[in-house]
Amino acid sequence: MPSQLVDKYYRTESLPHIWCPGCGNGIVTRAIVKAIDNLGLNQDDVCIVSGIGCSSRASGYLDFNTIHTTHGRALAFATGIKFANPKLHVIVITGDGDCVAIGGNHLIHTARRNIDITTIVFNNNIYGMTGGQYSPTTPTGDRGTTAPYGNIDANFDLCNLAKAAGATYVSRATVFGANMIIKQVENGIKNKGFSFIETITICPTYYGRKNKKGDSVDMITDLKEIAVNKVSYEKLSEEQRKGKIIVGELYKGKRPEYVEEYNRMVESF
């Protein structure tokens, strides 16, 4: 028998999930569900939209209105859903590849419109589903099956990008700090506008193996060392900052929300 939380919010008949042993996706997914539970949202009023990738398989396991879309387009589908039925709390689950490789354009435009969608990126620094190719978040120099000599691309700072594009809630947490993810997802959902939450997760099977990061236990404990909050980060020297990730709530803004603006326009007739 599963836990009450899992029992209530998961389609338990579809468990165990397809994710590898030690994959962080399950941790992030639970954190999202816990946040929804904490907020006491009605399951019928929640819509989970995902793209394609390991992480995007999460939608199938969750007992809400769920849709597993095409690769990279989750935010565009989500925009259609939210705009059509603003009653729904629309939550997007997406991978780093899904969200910012093929899907980058939808990310920046959804942020620009500040439509009330909460996006959680499962950033495992790799394309997991297709077997370990480097992604736009694979740190420079790291390996993937398509970067056998080390990746020469620079990697995105996703939070920076989301903020520049117009997101009004931007935060980052790691699967080590799973409680932080819960809090951020809660706040992201509460923000009336586009919320962007980057969760740093672990793919021991591909990213870990390709880059000799050890097993899932090594990888998750490493995150403890790497993740620092903004205040601490600012105190670090340039040298010390190398390899560190800033976690926490990085930006909160206030701008008109898209659907509300539309309604305002309609009311003005």
């Binding site: 397809i18 994710w19 042993p21 589903m129």
Partner: protein, 187 residues
């Protein structure tokens, strides 16, 4: 031996795809025609995994294994899933961790401690696939031993050659020793 079909089954990460490739390559060194293929994708993630090899004197057209002559199963799941695909008269090689033996009396079953040999005897569970190859060889002589050894050395990661040679030998021995036992005990 016009066309021999092997299916190597187990779970993802047990190196069975590589084992299939090595076997196929060995057959190729023998001058045979050969096709190797495998189950693919997320299926292979966590769940059952399989690798298939067809070895034939004649050109191989249909490249898939339907009913196989030889089945290796390293896990119970794999055994349960694929047992029905083994031809009547075929050979089933089971890891001894597979405890629920199939209910078929038209096949020969060999239950041998492949995984244990690999993890205890060799302190490296990653060579289970090579141990299995050794056993398959010893049991079937489906390829030449020289070819098999050459194929192993050609395909395993640099630096692990010795380990793998040893694993292969352990595989041979598993069968040699096994032979001495009466079949009755297994079936």
């Amino acid at each position: 031996m016009l066309r021999q079909e092997l299916r190597l089954s187990g779970s993802g990460g047990q190196g069975l795809i590589l084992a299939g490739i090595i076997l196929a390559e060995a057959a190729l060194y023998d001058g045979k025609n050969v096709v190797q293929s495998q189950s693919y994708g997320p299926e292979a993630r966590g769940g059952a995994s399989k690798s298939e090899v067809i070895i034939s004197q004649a050109p191989i057209n249909y490249p898939k294994v339907n009913k196989c002559d030889i089945l290796l199963s390293l896990t119970q799941k794999a055994c349960d899933k694929y047992i029905s695909s083994l031809k009547s008269g075929g050979i089933l090689i089971l890891d001894s961790s597979v405890t629920k033996l199939p209910d078929r009396d038209d096949i020969k079953i060999y239950s041998i401690p492949i995984l244990k040999t690999a993890s205890n005897g060799l302190k490296k569970s990653m060579v289970a696939n090579i141990v299995a190859l050794g056993s398959i060889y010893e049991l079937t002589k489906i390829v030449n031993r020289v070819s098999l050894e050459r194929a192993v050395l050609n395909r395993v990661p640099r630096g692990t050659e010795e380990l793998n040679k040893k694993a292969l030998k352990k595989g041979f021995e598993l069968i040699k020793n096994y032979r001495s036992k009466p079949y009755g005990e297994v079936c």
